[in-house]
Amino acid sequence: MIGTKRVRWVIPCLAAIFLVTEVILPTLVSAQEEVASYIRRYKDREASTGFYEQYEVKPRRMAPLVEVPGVTRGIFPYSPSAAKVRIRTRLADSHWGIKFYERRRCEECHIRETRDIHTTRANLTCRQCHGGEPIASLGHYYSPFNPIRKHAYVCAKCHQGANASYASYIVHSPNPALASTRQAFPVLFYVFWFMVILAGGTFVVFLPHTALWGARELFVKKEKAEGESKD
């Protein structure tokens, strides 16, 4: 039999061990792996906040809350007294001053940028290319997306040997059918419509042609002996 004195010691000891594990050691989980997609597991290469599928933006100290309703791009008045310059495409932090930015997901504000192969198929997260906070505007001199280093800083992370020409591939390829693409990417627009008209033209001619042909042959007498008159 264990003495009552010893039993009295065991319980506080267990409690202390429990407390230490709870407070100091990481929580127990069944798997440490973060599974991103049914096609590929690319999130292991990501500069990650770890908060998947809830919000992608790392919580951070609040920036001054500056916003003008309805204005999302270009120059807008920063404050009544300050200079009126805020060109979003030149900022070191392109989201500087955008309200509630921290707790939202990229696709809530940038829907168009989610509709391309890298996101829909390869299932990359935005941050695998755009990196951690702050996300520099594309036009900022030190941005990784500056064409002088984009191929090396962004594309070559995954596409080994990517050169500057390769990096001119339009990752967020616009919908080629849209009229807006005519300005943004005219070659794509015209080639797309040329091909569509070509394909459409073929079917406009050959679908009715084939259907009529099939119908007409139902009324042909099956061929008789040689030399008999046609039809």
Binding site: S165, Y169, M195, W213, G214, L218
Partner: protein
Amino acid sequence: MSQKTRIRRFTPVQRLFHLLLILSFLTQGSTGLARLYIASSWGKSLAWVFGGYDACRTIHIYVGIFLVCFFVAHVLYVLTKINWKKLSGPDSLLPRPKDIKDFFQHIGWFLGISKAPEFDRWGYWEKFDYWAVFWGVPLLGATGLLMAYPLTATKIMPGWGLNVALWIHRIEAILAMCHVFIIHFFIVHLRRHNFPMDRAMFEGSADLTATRHERPAWIARLQEAGELESKLVAEAPAGRRAIFYVFGYAAVVVGIFLLIGGLVNSPYITW
């Protein structure tokens, strides 16, 4: 009982070309569509057949390279076979003014306005099919190679060319598949003249009576030149015919499966 009831239309080499074209076309169609539809369960199971999303790409690239070589082989073959003097004649696959006339007369016949045109060796629709493949394969091959080896490709063109190449490749592939799975299959299988299947491309020969009916100009020309007899062959034995039918219908089933699956699942395409 080897009555010579059929007239030769294709040589063994030409039939082999067509057979390889069927196999590679269906492979390219399935692996390509599997990737385009990977967000749908139909696309996933299609990809599973080939070993998954990435394996589809590998297969697609190698079969594509095969097709490019195949095209080059075909061009070399054609160059050795061409009869340059008769290039504009009725035995040539080059379009002739008569094809345009035939086309409109054929439509007139559909509508009951005119007599059926007297086709020669190649109908205008057959020439169209041939030339559609003839420029479709290089176009798909060129854009496909650019995308398969993008690092090399972007040394000779800007990277945004890949965006353009992708769309050319897609639309041309969709055009080719719809054309083959709807129009080509209908013409060679379903229309009454050929139902249940035109075996000419497998067996190499077509029924003489039926051909005389559809292509009287050809038969008359051969008869005049006294060449008809030498072109007649006997029907293939029943066992071989059975193989033609089974293979032909297997190809049709695959094609229709891709066509219907593609249409039904089109909302799930991730472009």
